[in-house]
């Protein structure tokens, strides 16, 4: 059903460092969260280059409450730290984005990327193993082929279910700048990858060649005024993609019209309100995420203070603007000083496009119901919630008098930020990454 009672999210699962803050290490910080197309799997990537996949439990009679719970399914090291000797640059292992491929057989495939290299992973199950190979002994060492005098047929033996993740393709050396987005095309054979200045188009089976489709690098880098911040393919129209910029604009390109998409076919920009202009205007208007609705009719953009919904047929202004944490407008100066103003919040749609979700500070995240225009602030934290209890809406007090249960703007913890959230494609299940913890909430079961 739709999110009528958005505050009834119960609280079945928390993953992450059980210890206190002190045990939190940088490598454990979750850097991306993504459901697959069916919603049965949820992948997270972290700053340590690991990918953890959670699987939703099937109905289980012995444990009636376990339905829908997500448990760890597979963990693997996707990227390792590297060093670019030519440029004397360290390449972090941090997973910037994960995108699932539409399922094509019993296995699952996903793309994961750090700043430079995109990898295609296959996650498959194995419950039988072969024994008695001709060419290798039981430890897997190759036998000398000349010592093999008799042949035997390997035998299949059942074994404990094993989930393997194996790298199938590595798409490297195509990006000079840092990759911020990857997006799989609806033609199921290509995907795009975007860095600060360029967007490349890849074929999923070809690793040694990609096509540059957008290049906004000026001949003279001193003339650089904007960078690409996010890019995504349209969910149904294989020829359409959008990319957002640090100037708060979104360009929609049609790959049919030309091989190089440097010229956009639509340009979405909201005229600036002169009254609210300030030193920080440009910084806070930078778009940190862009997402098409499942229907393909709308797209949503997140800037520092708000989330906007655009109708693809109207370029002049968004059809909806939701304030995420307007109370921070007065604090931009200190947010600039502690660099928080550059935080890149992501946003997501629910399965029916009727609600949207995005993160904030103090482990708060926000949900907006597009039909009823209601919104709610919820908190992801161990202390404030009990298992199977509903989440309590939170309020930030902006005026002088603080009511009971309200929290003052001044006491918000800006180190606890929720940048990455994901919504199940069909059900009311959400995943919220709060630094090194992953919270999975779902609609209360009756």
């Amino acid at each position: 059903g739709r999110v009528k009672e958005m505050n009834t999210y119960a609280w079945p699962t928390v993953f992450g460092g059980a210890g206190g803050e002190s045990e939190r290490t940088r490598a454990d910080i979750i850097s991306t969260v993504e459901f697959n197309y069916s919603g049965d799997l949820l992948a997270t990537g972290d700053k340590g280059g690991r990918v953890v996949i959670f699987q939703r439990e099937q109905e289980n009679k012995s444990r009636p409450h376990s339905r829908g719970e997500y448990n760890v399914y597979s963990t693997f090291q996707s990227h390792e730290p590297e060093f670019d000797y030519l440029k004397s640059l360290e390449i972090e292992e941090k997973i910037n984005k994960i995108r699932w491929l539409p399922q094509q057989n019993a296995a699952h495939f996903l793309l994961s990327t750090n700043d430079k290299t995109i990898k295609l992973w296959k996650i498959s199950e194995r419950d039988k193993r072969a024994e008695g190979y001709n060419l290798k002994d039981e430890d897997g060492r190759l036998r000398d082929p000349f010592r093999i005098t008799a042949l035997r047929v390997p035998i299949l033996k059942p074994m404990d279910l094993m989930v393997e993740a194996s790298p199938r393709r590595i798409f490297a050396n195509a990006h000079t700048y840092h990759i911020n987005s990857i997006s799989v095309n609806s033609d199921h054979e290509t995907y795009l990858s975007a860095d600060d200045l360029r967007i490349n188009l890849w074929h999923l089976e070809i690793t040694d060649r990609s096509f540059n489709i957008v290049d906004i690098k000026p001949a003279n880098m001193e003339e650089l005024t904007e960078v690409i911040t996010a890019a995504e393919f349209h969910p149904h129209q294989c020829n359409v993609f959008v990319y957002s910029s640090s100037k708060g604009t979104i360009r929609l390109c049609d790959m049919r019209s030309s091989a190089l998409c440097d010229r956009h076919s639509k340009f979405f920009e909201e005229p600036e309100d002169p009254s609210s202009r300030s030193f920080f205007s440009e910084i806070i208007s930078s778009i940190s995420d862009v997402k098409f609705s499942h229907s393909g009719r709308y797209m949503m953009t997140r800037d520092y203070l708000s989330v906007k919904v655009w109708d693809l047929n109207m370029e002049s202004r968004p059809v909806e603007t939701h304030q995420v944490h307007e109370y921070l407008r007065s604090k931009l100066c200190s947010l600039y000083e502690n660099d928080c103003i550059f935080d890149k919040f992501e946003c997501c749609w629910n399965g029916s496009d009727s609600a949207i979700m995005t993160g904030s500070y103090n482990n708060f995240f926000r949900m907006f119901d597009r039909d009823t225009r209601r919104d709610v602030t919820l908190e992801a934290s161990r202390e404030s919630s009990k298992p199977r209890a509903s989440l309590k809406p939170r309020k930030v007090c902006t005026g002088g008098k603080r009511k009971k249960d309200e929290i003052s703007v001044d006491s918000l913890d800006f180190n606890k930020k929720i940048l990455h959230t994901a919504w199940h494609p069909a059900d009311n299940v959400i995943a919220v990454a709060a630094t090194n913890n992953l919270y999975i909430f779902q609609d209360k079961i009756n």
Binding site: D46, S74, N105, A106, F109, N134, I148, M162, A165, H236
Partner: protein, 696 residues
């Protein structure tokens, strides 16, 4: 993150990709095959495995390993006799297959690439009970494996009797066509056409029905596979069915929402058009093709341009004149450069495929105006595409038109800012030469060549060097000596090695063209002078030139002019030069006579063999052994019946006995084999024996 209870693997383990023809490896970690095999009784076979020799004497693997798997599926074993017979055939085919096996290794990690050799093997078994594994392989996610399995299935289908085809093969295709995952349905698309011709009418109707449903599959992958096989399928259908069923499918695919599907329909259009009459074409195909020419997506229009010659042939002259020529004009002025470039590539073929009597007028009136525009296109790819074919028009248009209309274009292109355009014109000069003679061009040609020869990009210089022999042939020796010779010599001292190397080869080709006398007078003196150059790289270039030229120049020039220089350079202070002297002596050895070898080369090599530099020593010793071989052969021609006169030398190293002076001049008679060190050791012994003999 909490450690998880689930099993995980980092996927970093050592996993060599399993290649064919490496020692027998195909029963590796392949679950697919084993799952199938396990339907039978693996253990049973294992216990009863007969103690017969499974490896044949030559170390090749008998097919029993597969026969075992196969026997399981069928519940029987295979006779050893038959296996032995098939083994030789397989060996041959294995060698052939290994060439194809380059793809999956690159495809990545583990698992499926080991399936590949199995697919190849089963390919050759040609037996219906191998279908289960092939059917499995046709559904895996790696495209290379799937394609190979499908290829095998297609071959197998031809070995079926019509009855067996319907009993076994058609059901398999149906299973694939209704598979859950797109991988199996894409594979099915390629199999309909091979079973359709020999199926009964009832089955034919079913096959058509299944193909229809795949053409409107949910996933674009399957629709792409269906669209790419539509033409092939149309060819095996009855004409009525083509009209009533294929054409509507074609129309649908050509208006698919995915442009990757629509563009494949253009390809199908060619095959379908070949089957229909002119009237049918006009009513059934042309509306769709017209739509493709104006498709919103440049990729579809590109495909029309790319397939234009095929379309032109399939549609016939009438439709070409009425529809295709105007369409081509549009493609030549398309807003997307990729499309214009693809169309520009087809200009020559278009002309050639026109009816002879109308060619000239059509090109002059309807195509040439657009070509003139393209010569000054904004996009370099378009211009260079045009430059690569435009010369071909001169044969079609004849002398007068070429001089009046094409020549100005050529001259403009020779001055184009983009080097590739100039290069493409120069590389196709032969076409023009036939029609108007190259003199017309030579005045403009020279500045263009000089400019390319001095281009800042070494790849451009390299490209123009490659065309020098051709140009020399076209322009004649006088023009060459006068204008181009100095360029060729200048390249010898280029600062890029690849250019110097290409320049050396160029000299050789020029000598082949202009003869030894020319070489002796113009090239050799200049090359030899460089031996005194203060730059050791240039001194080495002399040696490289001698290596290249000695063969073409023959024994006399080599012995009298080149050899003294080489020998003199043996005292060079730079070790690189010295060991290149050794290499050169080895190279020119076969051209020299015994006296020179014995009296001049051998002492110098022996001296170099004592050099303090180990590389010089190494190459000198290598040269000594080769020269020794040569000497031995000159002195002791091997008799037909006898053993070689030198003990321990392998007889196979002497292809046939030779007598002095018999030299064909085709390079060293003897070449060192793969493992140089071993051969060398062997030869050193041979050489010692030889020298001691000659002392006697």
């Amino acid at each position: 993150m909490n450690p998880c209870t689930c099993f995980f693997r980092l996927g970093k383990g050592r996993r060599g990709s399993i290649r064919f023809l490496s020692p027998p490896v195909f029963l590796s970690s392949d679950l697919q095959l084993l799952q199938w095999g396990s339907e039978g009784s693996l253990n049973h076979r294992d216990r009863n495995s007969a103690p017969q020799p499974l490896l044949n004497p030559r170390g090749g693997l008998l097919p029993c390993c597969l026969g075992a798997g196969r026997g399981l599926g069928a519940g029987r074993g295979l006779g050893a006799g038959r296996e032995a017979v098939t083994s030789s055939r397989r060996r041959k085919n294995m060698a052939g297959a290994s060439g194809l096996g380059t793809g999956p290794g690159a495809a990545g990690g583990d698992g499926d690439d080991s399936l590949y050799p199995i697919a190849v093997l089963i390919d050759e078994l040609r037996n219906e009970d191998v279908q289960p594994p092939l059917e499995n392989l046709a559904t895996v996610e790696e495209t290379v494996v799937r394609d190979k399995a499908v290829e095998s299935l297609r071959q197998i289908s031809q070995e079926h009797t019509p009855v067996a085809l319907e009993a076994y093969f058609v059901p398999l295709v149906k299973r694939l066509a209704s598979g859950d995952w797109f991988t199996s349905r894409t594979s099915a698309c390629s199999l309909f056409s091979v079973c359709y011709p020999r199926a009964s009418n009832a089955v034919k109707a079913e096959i058509r029905q299944q193909f229809r449903s795949l053409c409107s599959d949910d996933t674009p992958m399957v629709r792409r596979a269906a669209a790419s096989k539509l033409g092939e399928f149309a060819k095996v259908l009855e004409l009525d069915s083509v009209k009533s069923e294929i054409v509507p499918l074609f129309t649908n695919l050509a208006s698919d929402e995915q442009d990757s599907v629509r563009l494949l329909a253009v390809e199908a259009c060619v095959s379908i058009a070949q089957l229909l009459s002119q009237d049918d074409l006009e009513t059934l195909v042309m509306p769709t093709l017209r739509q493709a020419v104006e498709d919103k997506s440049w990729r579809v229009r590109y495909m029309v341009a790319d397939k234009f010659s095929e379309l032109q042939k399939a549609m016939g002259p009438k439709i070409t004149l009425n529809d295709l020529i105007p369409a081509f004009q549009n493609l030549l002025k398309d807003c997307e450069a990729e499309v214009r470039a693809a169309a520009a590539h087809k200009v020559k073929e278009l002309g050639e495929n026109l009816p002879i009597e109308d060619r000239e007028t059509i090109i002059m009136n309807q195509i040439l105006p657009y070509i003139k525009e393209l010569v000054s296109d904004t996009n370099p790819h378009v211009k260079s595409a045009l430059a690569s074919v435009i010369m071909g028009l001169s044969t079609i248009l004849g002398k007068e038109n070429t001089i009046e209309h094409l020549l100005p274009l050529f001259l403009a292109q020779l001055k184009d800012e983009c080097p590739e355009v100039r290069l493409n014109i120069i590389s196709n000069l032969d076409c023009v030469n036939e029609v108007i003679g190259i003199r017309q061009l030579s005045q403009s040609l020279l500045p263009a060549i000089v400019e390319l020869a001095e281009d800042a990009k070494w790849r451009v210089r390299l490209a123009i060097i490659e065309y020098m022999p051709l140009l020399a042939g076209q322009l004649g020796v006088e023009f060459f000596d006068e204008k181009l010779n100095s360029l060729c010599m200048a390249w010898l001292v280029d600062h890029v090695y690849a250019i110097r190397e290409a320049a050396t080869n160029n000299l050789m080709k020029l000598v082949q063209k202009f003869g030894t006398e020319w070489a002796q007078n113009t090239i050799v003196p200049k090359v030899l002078v460089m031996a005194n150059d203060p730059n050791y790289l240039h001194r080495m270039t002399t040696l490289f030139c001698i290596n290249a030229l000695s063969e073409a120049c023959g024994q006399e020039i080599t012995t009298k002019q080149m050899l003294p220089i080489v020998l003199k350079m043996a005292g060079d202070q730079v070790a690189n030069v010295r060991f290149n002297v050794a290499k050169s002596l080895q190279k020119i050895g076969p051209i020299l006579d015994t006296n020179a070898l014995q009296g001049e080369v051998k002492p110098v090599l022996q001296k170099l063999g004592q050099d303090e530099d180990m590389d010089v020593k190494y190459f000198a010793q290598e040269a000594i052994s080769v020269v020794a071989q040569r000497l031995r052969k000159l002195d002791f021609p091997v008799k037909d019946s006898g053993e070689p006169s030198v003990p321990r030398a392998d007889k196979n190293h002497f292809p046939r006995p030779r007598v002095p002076g018999e030299d064909t001049g085709k390079g060293p008679v003897y070449q060192l084999h793969g493992d140089t060190r071993d051969t060398l050791a062997q030869l050193e012994i041979a050489e010692l024996v030889h020298f001691s003999q000659s002392r006697d």
